[in-house]
Structures are given as C-alpha cells and as structure tokens.
Symmetry: C2
Subunit: 193 residues, 2 copies
C-alpha cells in the first residue's frame, strides 16, 4: 500500500473523524462522504478500516520515538534530559492534535498482531521515561518518587493535551510547552522548605 496523495487525504479526514467520534463509531462511509466519494471507492486506496487506523497510529508512534531519541541524545543531567523529553513530547502532540488524539485513544481498537506491536512500543517509551526518573532520583536531582507512578502521572498529563487543547483558545502553543515543562519538572523537584 503506497502512500499516495489520496491515501494521505483519507488518513487526514479519518484522523479528524476518529478523534471526534471514535474509531468504532466512525463508518467507512463517513470517511468517504467527507471526501465526496462512495464508501466502496475507499477500498481502491486502503485495504481495510483498520489499515487506516494503523497507518495513523504507527506514524505518530514513530514521531514520538524519533523526538525522544533526539531529545535524549543530549546529556547534561537528568533535569535537562527530562525538560527536553517533555518539550519534545508536547511538540509532537501539538504538531497534529487529530492524529495524536487517535494515537492516544484509539490504538486499543487495533486487532492482533497490530495491537500488541503498538503496545510494546508504548511500553518501551514509558520505560525510557521511568528509567530517566529513576536515574534522576538516584542522582539526587529529583525527589524520591515511585518512578512508575511518576511516569504514568506525567504521560497522562502530556497526552491529555490532545484531548483538551484548542489552538484557537487563549493559550499559545509555545506558552503551553513552556508551562508543561515547568509543571513536569517541578512535580519531580523537592519543594522549597
């Protein structure tokens, strides 16, 4: 399945619809209607409805992985590593809220083996964050926290942006990234006495 312009257009409208109504409540005819073609015509471009979901989820997963890779390439200590990772994550979410939202919420509708593969990639990503927190705690840079709880706390907060953030709202994207880096860092730093 090559990535033609039409195929990308399908994934784009599907991202918006999947985000808005959810994968299960979106029919292939809904997607087709948004493109002004017949439902059956969609199958000239995609193998199945799940094929479209997988393409979206896979693309976002890769974006998160690459952004984390780049963020963690610099090592000036745990605090800066975490700051860079949080900023990178927020930026990936903000870069495409529809697709990020589908990645966050709809990947569960994938069937095997796609479901397991994405789960493994999500787990690996979360593990990197958890290890970073554990390292920082050992190094005395962070407060003593359960790294599993802290990682889940932060990932939920970061992914939540895809649900509530509105680009036409009162918070500019850059301000949001700054605010979330501050909140995330502080949540792990010892409070002043």
């Amino acid at each position: 399945m090559v990535e033609t312009a039409r195929r990308r257009a399908i994934e784009d409208v599907a991202s918006a619809l999947f985000r808005e109504r959810g994968y299960a409540a979106t029919s292939v005819r809904d997607i087709a209607r948004a493109l002004d073609i017949q439902g059956a015509s969609l199958y000239a471009h995609v193998a199945s409805k799940e094929d479209v979901l997988l393409a979206i989820v896979d693309r976002v997963a890769t974006r998160f992985e690459e952004a984390a890779q780049e963020a963690l390439a610099v090592d000036r200590g745990p605090v800066e590593r975490l700051a860079r990772l949080v900023r990178a994550h927020v930026e990936v979410v903000l870069a495409d809220l529809d697709q990020s939202s589908v990645f966050v919420h709809e990947w569960r509708h994938l069937t095997e083996p796609n479901h397991d593969r994405i789960l493994a990639r999500r787990d690996a990503y979360e593990r990197r964050l958890r290890d970073l927190i554990a390292d920082g705690t050992r190094a005395g840079a962070f407060a003593h926290v359960d790294p599993t709880a802290a990682a889940a706390f932060l990932l939920s907060a970061l992914n939540g942006i895809a649900t509530w953030y509105r680009p036409d709202g009162p918070i500019a994207p850059g301000d949001l990234a700054d605010a979330f880096v501050d909140l995330a860092l502080r949540s792990l730093m010892e409070a002043s006495p």
Copy 2:
C-alpha cells in the same frame, strides 16, 4: 426507571465492557450475554443503551462533585485545599476503575441533552480546580502558572489513573494516592533554589 438489583448488575457489567471495548464497540447483546440473558430481555430493565451509559456517567459525576465538596469544606489555605481535592479525586477514581474509566472516556457518546449536561458539570468541576490554583498563586502559595494549563495538566494526570492503574499491580492504592498528592502539590510549588 427504578434502581433494582438487576439494573445495577446491568450497569456493572456494562461498565466493564464499555471500559474494555468502548461504548460504541459494545453491543446490547454483549451486555446481555455477560448476564446470561437474551439481548431483547435487557429492555425489560433499561430504556436504551444510552440510558445505561448515562446512569454510569451521572453516578460518577455526582461522586466527584460530592467528594470535592467535602474536600473543599475545610479551608486551611490553598496548599491543603489542593492536597485534599487531589486525594479525594484519586480516591473516587480508585473506588471503581471501570465506572471512572467510562466517565472519563465514554461520556462523549451521550447525545443531547445529556451530553451538554455532563459537559457543563465537568466544566464546573474544572473551574473549581482552576480557581483554587489561581487563588493559591495570588496568595503566594503556588508558583506563577497559567491556571488553565495547570488545571488541565492535573486533571489529565488524575483521570489517567483510570486507564493505567491495575489493583493487582505493584502499587498499593494508598501509596498511589500519596504519590499523586506529592506530585500534584510539587508541580505547583516553587522549586528550591
């Protein structure tokens, strides 16, 4: 529609199924099968599939509101108010993960006027948290943060528990509540110099 034991059993299995597969991907017959009755027999107890969703969502909404009311009844300053609100929220989530998860993720599938009513209650709850943060910042108890961003950050983190927490996992519920109160408070407190 009175709340009989059978009706409660329906809502309980529906909560588990809605959480696991999502509302749209759960059929009325799935719910009936879990209760060993025929799909059509369900309608002796409920008016519609949405009726079941609404009952679950409404009950959890009320629980959050009552817990917040009680938590905020005590006023020994913004820090303690926030600590009590966060703990209360975590406790409501942990008290029933299935129902909380449905409240967090599936309420969007409600149709009007139910959808709008729940949205208004969620907004009011979020506003209370936002105002509390703004008060604490003005009082000098919290760092200078955008109260909207901070409230969304915290609510996403807290609600996320319903998605990832496993009671049979390594973190005891009490430890989780403690850890999340610490993380939440620190995220708003000025870090040590």
